[in-house]
Every structure is written in C-alpha cells, then in structure tokens.
C-alpha cells in the first residue's frame, strides 16, 4: 500500500477530502491510503518520510516552497493541489485522485 498525506492549515477540511479520495481510489483498485494533517505536523511528517507523497492544499500555498525544500532533503515528492481539485464533489475528488496517481512515484 502507498500512503499520501494532505497538508492544510488545521488538517480538518482536508480530512473530509482524504476520506472521500481514499474511497474513490480504492474503488478503482488502487491500494492507496490518503490522510490529512496540519501545516506544523506536516513538516515533521515530511522529515520522517513515512508517506510516499505530500500534497499542499491551496489555502496553505504560502508554505509550499518551504515544504518542497524539506521534501527535497528527505527525498520525497511534494506537490500543490490546484483549487479545482480541492472540492468535495465527485469532480473534485476525481481530479485529486488523478493528481495523486500522476505524482505518486512508482513503488
């Protein structure tokens, strides 16, 4: 199984998305688990390198450069979520799932 972590301000709105996206990915036969956390914890998580991919939510875009650098040091990919992929409607979930499949490194 591969793991993805969404980083947002408090980790709350993202947890709604994480749950829906995990369900969508699993239904399509992908063994991927998406979780969510806050910005502060996110940085620590990247350093620990437990996840295969880190996604930065649009409302925490200002921390992206910093998180990206942390990711480079840890050898893990960090990507921005575009606003269209940050909506808990089927189309948004679909877009977020595609982004994950595209950005996840081959296991």
């Amino acid at each position: 199984m591969r793991n993805v972590l969404i980083i947002c301000q408090g980790g709350m709105s993202s947890s709604v998305l994480a749950k829906k996206t995990t369900e969508h990915l699993n239904e399509d036969g992908n063994d991927i688990q998406v979780e969510a956390t806050s910005t502060n914890e996110g940085r620590e998580m990247i350093e620990k390198g437990k996840y295969d991919l880190y996604l930065v939510s649009p409302q925490t875009k200002m921390y992206y450069d910093q998180l990206k650098k942390t990711g480079e040091r840890a050898g893990k990919p960090v990507a921005n979520i575009p606003p269209q992929a940050y909506v808990p409607v089927p189309m948004g979930i679909e877009k977020l799932s595609n982004l994950i499949l595209q950005e996840l490194p081959e296991s």
Partner: protein, 108 residues
C-alpha cells in the same frame, strides 16, 4: 440544505480565505522590501478574495432568513474560522503597511 451542499459552501469559503491569506503574506514580503504600492495592491486583491468568500456565506444567510433550515456543521465553523482570522490578518497588514511607511519616511 443537505450536508453535501453545506460542505461545498464551506470549501468555497476556505479556498477564497486561503487565497486571501496567501496574498496578505505576499504583501508582508513586499512591505519588507519597501515596495509599498505593490503591497497595497496585494492587500486590495486579498480583499476581493475575502469578498468572494463572504458572498458564499451570504447565500447561506439568505436561506436561513428565508426560513430554510441551515445546519451548523462543524466544517462550517471551521470555514468561518478561516474567514475571520484572515480578515483580521488583513486589517493588521494594513496597519503594518502604514507603520512601515512611517518608519521609512522618518529614517530618510
């Protein structure tokens, strides 16, 4: 209004507030490099985003006053938190802009 609709409005508020917050931070960077006009423009842009967030909220208010049941879902409380803190941050940024300008003027 069902939970999904509430969630959508909440996410719209969070997104616009987030955009606004990012812009305010860009404004702070501009103030530090003494680019005051650009900083002011940034804070104006940040205000447009806040207005957009506010409009989403207003639709809920209108439904509420029209008698429709609008549940206060926890995600909506969270969205409000985003909106209000960003509004306050922008107000502080405006004060700081004027402080930065004063300091520059007096040091010249």
């Amino acid at each position: 209004m069902d939970q999904e609709e509430i969630q959508n409005v909440a996410f719209t508020i969070i997104l616009h507030s987030g955009n606004s917050r990012t812009m305010v931070h860009e404004g702070f960077d501009l103030m530090r490099s003494k680019e005051f006009e650009k900083a002011e423009e940034k804070l104006d842009e940040a205000n447009s985003e806040l207005t957009a967030a506010h409009q989403s909220q207003t639709t809920l208010m209108q439904k509420y006053t029209a008698g429709e049941e609008v549940n206060t879902d926890i995600i909506m409380v969270h969205a409000q938190d985003h909106l209000m803190t960003t509004m306050t941050l922008r107000e502080v940024a405006l004060e700081m802009l004027s402080l930065y300008q004063t300091v520059k003027f007096e040091s010249e």
